[in-house]
Structures are given as C-alpha cells and as structure tokens.
Amino acid sequence: MRYIRPLSIEDAVGLLAGASGTSAILAGGSDLLVRMKGGFVEPDLIVDIKAIEGLSEIRETADGFSIGATVPCAVLGESSVLKKAWPGVVEAAKLIGSKQVQGRCTITGNLCNASPAADSVPALVAAGAKAVVAGPSGRRTIPVGAVPIGPGKTSLTKGEIIEAILLDSQAPRSGDAYLRFIPRTEMDIAVVSAGVNLTLDEHGVITAARVALGAAAPTVLLVEEAAEALIGRKLDEAALERLAKVCAGACRPIDDKRGTIEFRRKVAGVLARRATTTAYARAGGK
C-alpha cells in the first residue's frame, strides 16, 4: 500500500491515472478509513488530496459559491454567507455522522461515496449544484445528480477527481430545506430523506421548485412531478397533499434492515411536505 500526499491537482490526477492496482482518494477519510479498518477495501494506492492548495476553501464567486473538495462539513456551518444563501444544504451537511465526524467529512466525499442515503446529496441536487471534475483530459462541470450512478458507483473515470462543488447565488425570494428520517436523534443513516428548493414571486406563488429524495431509489431522485405539483400555486393544503402523494409514488425503495418499502414511501411524502413548508417560509412565503 502506497500513501501519497501530492501538492497539486495535476499531480493527484497523474498519480490516479497512472495507478496499476486499486486506488482511493483520501479527503476526510470518514468513509474510506472505516472501510479499510473493517477489511472491506485494501487500496494499493491512497492519494491524500488535503495538501492541494485551494481545495480547503469556500470561495465566493461572481455566480455564487465554490466549495473545495476538502472543506469539512463543520466549516460549511461556520460560513454565515453560505448558511444564509443555502440553509438546506448546510443543514444536510451538518447531519452527517457526529460532531467529530463533521470535523473531517466533506460533501464531495459524501457525493463520491455514492450511498443512496447520503445526506448532503438530495439537498445539493435540489439546489442545482454542480461538480467541477479534474481529469487527465482537463476539467468538466457536471450536475451533482450525474455523479452517482448506483450504490457505491460513480460516473467518474480513471484519474478523475472532483475538485469543487458549485452553488449558484440563491435567486431572490428563494429558500431551501432538507429533512431526513432516522430512528435515533443523531449519528445515523437516513432511512429516507427529502431536499427542496423553492422560488416565489411577489405574491407568494411558487415559480420554480426542485424536490429531491434520498434513500428512495438506487440513486438520488429528482422528482419533476413534485415540482409540477407546486409551481404556479401558493402553498395550500391541496398542493402539499398532491406533493406527498407524488413523492410517495416516485419512490423505488427496497425492504431492508433500515425500513420497509411501505414505510419509506409514506415517510418520503411526509418529509417532502414538511421540507417544502420550511423552504416556503425561508423564501418569505406567507
């Protein structure tokens, strides 16, 4: 096993592209180290990207925010501008693991781990976030939702690293929110979850909506029909009922140790409704 701590993204990409055996990228390590200790993986090469300049910063850009790949989730919670613009994304990131884990784990790692239950991913998808991917043939920017393609699998190719997550500036009269269901109060994995991002007009009518569900299918679900149920309406009970029904129907969950299909469907609808109510209030509705 080789451990290397490159100083540039180009070196990191080069190492990964040239690796002959199995390789892994180390940022916070909150998934990788646990899997290694459990004996599930034993990579031949570990590339630690924490020393790469710029990756540990949250930058405000002309379009919004660029969150470096090694920024710990706890740091997102300390950024007042980010919290103000994207409270739902930040609250999702701050639900991962425990306080101690949040000091290490990153939203990029959460995305690349490709768990259907990842907390930050539905919130990022609802927010329309993008991922900047550096690779042997240069850089490309893709929607966050295009990264996971199945449990534990991503669309990234050999040598590719996600350098940063991009969030736009939040539009006026907009708000986002994220909720998950866990049987405990903390330190748990989502049984099912919902991220919602809404934009309103001056009268409180919803003009844009994105509703994403987690742990409801092999990958995060962006539920277009749910958005349609909300757009052009104020947040009335009928709209919320329709939203819940659509979300429950859109789920393709499994029966497992964490919950049943029936439970996940019902609770997906409940969480979508509750998250939408919060997002609507944050957008200044009512």
Partner: protein, 754 residues
C-alpha cells in the same frame, strides 16, 4: 469468629455519602487498563475464522496453506481443544461454542483460529483456511423453531419436563411450570379477561468494550490470562477444565471492564487464546471486533409470550396465566424458566400458572442480560395488566396497588416473601409529581412494575492494614458499577476511619479465595457482607494488640470511631489508641494486621421497581421520543447513592433502547444483517431525557446494613412502561418489541384502516 449477617438498624457515618470513586481519575485520563490494554513481549495477534452459514456440517478443514504463510505461528481447530468435559453437557456446549466441532450452528460460530506476528498476517492466514461445509436447513425464529416441521438443530435432545418421555427429538429442550391454585376456576370468577400475544426481538447487552484477553501458556503447565470479564474465578475454572490445566496454575487477572451486563459471564475467546498460546509457545492477544461481538457473543433471548389475566369488577385479579417461549441459541438453556418464574412475581395471586419452553434456534448462544428473561415477561404481563385496568375502568396504579404482593404473600414462583418494596414503589409512583404533569399533543403516559430475585453466593475478601494506618481491601467481585467505592465506604464505616484512608482493588485468582462472578446484582451485596465480616475480624486483632500494649484483658477493649478504648473507670487514664497508632506498632506486637472473610452470602433480598414514562409519537412517521422518565426502586440501603442512581438510570437507558429500536435482524439466509452500532441502534445521549430517580430503602433483613442488589431490576419495567406509554400516545396497543418507527406507523395505519 461467627458472623451475624442480620440487619441491625445502626446509624451510618460513611455509608450513604457520595465521595468520588477511586477508579475515576484513571478512567477519565485513559490510564485505566481495559482488556485490550495489556501487552507482553513477543505477543502474537490471534484471529478467529467464523462460519458464514447459519447451519452447516463441517466436512473438512484444511489449514495447511495458512500454516505455511510467513509470520503464522499457530493455527488451531476443534482438534486442538480435545473434549475433556467428561460428560458435563453444559461444559461441552461451552467447548463447542468456543470452536465448532462437527457443525457450525450459527452465522459467526468459530471454526478455526490463527496466531500470527501481526494483524495483517493473521487476517491473510484466515483467508487461506479452507473449510468444506455441507449446508443444512436453518431456523432463526422462535415460533418457527417450535413447529414439528422445523429443521432439527440437535437430534440428540428430547424435550425435558414432559409427563411422558418424548420419542422424537425436538428443538424444544425443556418445559417448565410454576404457579399455584386453579386458573380455570379463577377465570370463571372473572368479570373481565384480557388475553394477548406478544413478541420481543433478540437484543445485545451493547457493552462498549469488546471482549479482549491476553493468554500466555508456559511449557511447564502454568498459564496466565489477562481478560475483561465479570468473573475471573469462573473464567479460571472453565478455562482450566477445557484446557486440562490445574486451576491453581492458571492465574487470571481481570481488567477494568467497559460494560458487561451479563455478557461477560461466559468464555468464548479465552480458551481459544490459551490454546493458540499453548501451540505457538508465545503470548497471544485476542480482541473481538464489534462485528464478532454481535455475531458470536451472547445476546438475550427472542421471545413469544401469551398472557391471560382475569379480574372482578372491583379490580381483584382472579387468575393469571402465561405461556413463554424463549430462544436459547443452538444449545439448551433455562431462559424461559426464569421468565416463567418472574412473570407474575409482583402480584398477590390465588390462581396463577406459567409455562416456559426453551427453544433452540440457529443464533448465537443466549447469555445473561441484566435480570435475564425478566424484561420480556414483564412487557407481556404489564401490558395485559394495563389493558385490564382500562377495561375495568380503574387507574393503572390503583389496580396494581390493589393486587400487589406483600410480606407473607406466596410468590407466583413458590417462596413466601419477606418485607418487600412493590407496594411502596407503587405508592411513591401514585404521589410522584410526574403522574400529574400535563401531557402535550401526541403524548402518552405509561407505567409498569418489575421484579428481580437478586443473588448472593460465594465471596471472599481480604482487608490488610498497612503500617502507616492506610487500609487496602482486596475483593474478588469485578467492579462493574462502582463497587470499589461502595466497599470502601463499608470498610470505612466498620473500622471508623475516613474513606480516603482506604484503597480497594480487585485481586487476581492467585491472590484471593474463590469468588462467584459479579452477576445477580451480587457485587455490593455479597462483597459488602464479606467486607463487614473481614473488618470485624481485623478489629478483633486491633483490640488484641491494644490490650497487649496496655496489658489488660481484651474483653475490656472496645472499638469506637477508629480507636481502641479501654472500657471502664479503672482505665480512665489510658488514652485511646488510633488504628494508625496500633498499625505503627504492629511489628512489635505480633506482626501484620489483617482481616479475612470467606462466606456464602445468603438472603439476597428480592427487589422491585416501578417506572413511569411519557412518550411522544409522531403519527405520520411512527417516531417515538421519550419525553420524561422516572425510576422508583427499593435499594434496601443505598451504600453510595450516586451509583445506585446510576444503576437505575443505566437500566432505564438500556430498556429504552430495547423497547424502541434495538433488534437482531436476520436475513432469509440466516445471516445477521446488522452486526454493528450503526444499524443495531442503542440510544445515543440525545435520544434520552434526564432520567429521574427515587431511591426507597426497605431494609433487607438478611444483611447487616439492609443492602439489596440494585443493578438489574431497573431494566425489568422499561419495555412495558414504554409500550404502555406508546400505546396510549398512538391509540393502539403495541405487542411487538422493539416498537421501531415502521412498526408503530404500521400499527397506527392498521388502526385507522380498521
């Protein structure tokens, strides 16, 4: 010297105070040594290969490739642990559980083990061991296992306790029955009858410290074992028997213990570590992973229980009956029997009958878990009692008070009670402010009672007085809940000295006489009795030495407040001699001063508790939140009240986890799906409210200070109290533990639909 254990009603100066614990600084600074903290020069790493199958014949094990791997120093199978149990079937089961002999009986059953120079080599070696299995059909559910069509787990076992000896083997290894009166006649006199069936899933004690030991066997037949255990003397006996060692040549030292709750009363890894060390000729350290702890240590039974209780309109119970089926893993147990004994122990009943069935399943061998078997029985009975009170239209506390057992009541399991605390805990509940506190939206309140026998047993203590007047206390009961503090208080009380002058340690098996393990809530009860006895023996010597110094008859010397005092007018001018002064002169007055005690602590007083809790249920998700929780329990006498409260809170916390989320989940393949703390959900701090406690003190007549065991009873009522609260909050009777959100939501939906 004869020791009189009877309660004497004395006034206390040390007992009942709350000094800091002697093991506290080491534990919070990390200096304390737990099982995995022992190390020896040349030590190897031991690892165990475990069956991935729930039930399989072991056709062949080929270890040759593993043996050839560089760095591997020993590989063992069952062949390296020959059967020396000489017809002792219980010990044979222990041996077979340590290392499968002909069949793997559950997912996680040990089949081979290696000792290597490091963990990586040991892990690689495990992968090189080839095991040929022939898969057999398996059964993991307790009700399924009872069916005559179920796969047989052991075809040499026939149901015991039946009137006629059965002709066919069965997964039901024993039927037991308790009670008195005539239940049929009793139900005939009832105006109301409640009849319900309940299930509880298997749970684990969830101790934070995994099993760990270091074994070192010498070529001369002596051996040392450092181990995390609740009973190092018992571990010595069992390991010596299984390994063919002489008990006195195996020295076992217990480490600090990061939780046991009954789960560290049985050997699993220790005989394997000793066998590896014997074969390798080097010390071997064996530490279980969390996955191994869940799959291959000793969880509690899963149960299926039917209850029927009848009462008259005035609230008098006329008859009570229960059938209890408890899983015991793949080996015979007595868990249902204990459940059947405890089920109705809180009540005064003319007609009562309980029947227990012990059931084999392809799961790990059941071990004790804090008041083993009682919480599940209490869940079923106290749920039915609550429902019956509701049908009659009586307050649930009043209904229980009306039927509570008292001094002189013949218990449902046979003996007649002495002074007991069930009535007082119920009266205390009735007047507790918690019972009158307003409930919020979607909230419900529940209460329930619980009983535990408590145990005394063989106990030995040494008390040594140093020449500087400080006192060391060597006890043989492992300190699982603050007993070193409690026993120091007791010794300080008897000797009349300050707590700070004492230091209590847990002695190893070569330094002290045999002690039963710390179970049955016996640690403080029995070792305090032996400590009192040892201190009194030391006082006799102290008085002797003072008498010798003064040259007066010893009968004229009394011991008061840490001093020898010459009694009577004629000795008016003699200044009292302090313990310190007598100790300083001991070299010239006859040598070291010590007190010893060896006894069987009989008369552990039974213990009762009443719990109250408020639960809020989210009707849309089934999530349950514990809003408020109160424990009321009889301690006899609380030696160190802070640790008594800690025991009350700890039992309630474990009960809350068990009631709401903890469960072993098996797949159709018979494999455990959630062998880790992520998906086996014990409560985290934020899941719990501050658990309020109230200590009652109804003295145990069989202990000089009135002490009763307090460790276990506190886990008996929570399942029922929480189930009653959830049922009240959700508006539907919950009959399946744990009441996880999917189960609560499904019950609410079913109720809405129906």
């Amino acid at each position: 010297m004869n020791f009189d254990p009877r309660f004497s009603g004395r006034k206390f100066s040390s007992v009942g105070t709350r000094p800091i614990r002697p093991d506290g600084v080491d534990k919070v600074t990390g200096r304390a040594r737990y099982g995995a903290d022992f190390n020896m020069a040349g030590q190897l790493v031991g690892r165990v290969l475990r069956s991935p199958h729930a039930h399989a014949k072991i056709l062949k094990i080929d270890t040759s490739k593993a043996e050839k791997l560089a760095g591997v120093k020993a590989v063992i199978t069952a062949a390296d642990l020959p059967d020396l149990t000489d017809g002792d079937s219980a010990m044979y089961d222990v041996l077979d559980n340590c290392m499968a002999r002909t069949k793997a009986l559950y997912d996680g059953h040990a089949v081979a083990a290696v000792a290597a120079v490091d963990a990586r080599t040991a892990r690689q070696a495990l992968k090189l061991i080839e095991v040929d299995y022939e898969l057999l059909p398996h059964v993991t559910d307790v009700d399924e296992a009872m069916k005559h069509t179920a796969p047989l787990i052991n075809d040499t076992l026939f149901t015991e306790g039946l009137e006629e000896k059965p002709v066919k083997p069965s997964n039901v290894t024993k039927r037991s029955q308790f009670g008195h009166g005539d239940v049929h006649q009793g139900f005939g006199h009832a105006d109301f009858i409640v009849e319900r069936s309940f299930k509880t899933e298997q749970t684990h004690q969830g101790y934070i410290e995994p099993h760990a030991c270091v074994a070192s066997v010498s070529s001369d037949g002596t051996a040392d074992l450092w181990v995390c255990t609740q009973g190092h003397f018992v571990y010595r006996q069992h390991c010596a028997q299984l390994l063919g060692l002489e008990a006195s040549k195996l020295r076992v030292t217990s480490s600090e213990i990061g939780g046991g709750f009954g789960g560290k009363t049985h050997v699993w890894a220790e005989p394997v570590a000793l066998a590896l060390s014997r074969k390798a000729g080097r010390p071997v350290k064996l530490v279980m992973t969390r996955d191994e702890v869940f799959r291959a240590s000793g969880p509690t039974s899963a149960t299926s229980i039917d209850v029927k209780i009848g009462a008259r309109k005035d609230g008098t119970i006329t008859a009570a009956e229960a059938t209890l089926r408890y899983s015991s893993g793949p080996y015979a147990g007595t868990w249902a029997e204990i459940g059947a004994m405890t089920a109705f122990a809180c009540y005064k009943l003319d007609n009562v009958k309980t029947v227990g069935f012990e059931v084999l399943v392809n799961r790990p061998k059941t071990a004790a878990y804090r008041a083993p078997s009682a919480p599940m029985a209490a869940f079923a009975v106290e749920s039915a009692v609550d429902e019956l009170a509701k049908e009659i239209g009586m307050d649930p506390v009043d209904f229980r008070i009306k039927n509570a057992a008292q001094e002189g009541t013949r218990s449902s399991y046979g003996p007649v009670y002495g002074p007991i605390g069930i009535g007082p805990t119920l009266e205390a509940a009735k007047t507790h402010p918690h019972m009158k506190a307003p409930l919020g939206k979607n909230q419900g309140r529940g209460m329930a009672c619980g009983f535990w026998f408590n145990f005394g047993g063989q106990t030995c203590v040494d008390l040594n007085i140093g020449m500087d007047g400080s006192v060391s206390l060597a006890v043989g009961t492992v300190d699982v809940g603050g007993s070193r503090a409690s026993l120091s208080l007791v010794a300080a009380e008897e000797l009349g000295i300050d707590y700070a002058q004492l230091k209590a340690v847990v002695a190893d098996t070569s330094s002290l006489g045999y002690n039963d393990m710390t179970d049955g809530s016996r640690g403080t009860f029995s070792s305090s009795m032996a400590t009192i006895s040892a201190a009194r023996n030391a006082i006799k010597i102290l008085r002797d030495r003072a008498a010798q110094t003064w040259d007066i008859p010893v009968d004229d010397v009394v011991w008061e407040n840490g001093h020898a005092i010459a009694k009577g007018e004629k000795y008016g001018n003699l200044a009292a001699l302090s313990l310190k002064e007598i100790a300083a002169a001991s070299g010239k007055t006859g040598g070291p001063i010590a007190g010893h005690s060896e006894l069987v602590a009989d008369g552990a007083g039974v213990s009762f508790a009443t719990h109250i809790c408020d639960i809020e249920v989210d009707p849309e998700t089934g999530a349950a939140r514990v809003v408020r929780y109160t424990v009321i329990q009889d301690a006899g006498k609380a030696v160190h009240p802070t640790y008594v409260e800690g025991q009350y809170q700890g039992g309630a916390a474990q009960g809350i986890g068990w009631a709401l989320n903890e469960e072993y989940i098996y797949g159709k393949d018979g494999r455990l799906q959630n062998a880790g703390f992520l998906d086996y959900r014990i409560p985290v701090c934020s899941d719990l409210p501050m658990i309020d406690t109230q200590i009652l003190e109804i003295p145990n007549p069989n202990h000089p200070y009135g002490v009763r065991g307090v460790g276990e009873t506190s886990i008996v009522p929570p399942l029922a109290a929480i189930a009653n609260a959830v049922s009240n909050a959700a508006g539907v009777r919950m009959t399946h533990i744990p009441m996880s959100p999917p189960r609560i939501l499904a019950a609410i939906e079913a109720e809405r639909g129906g």
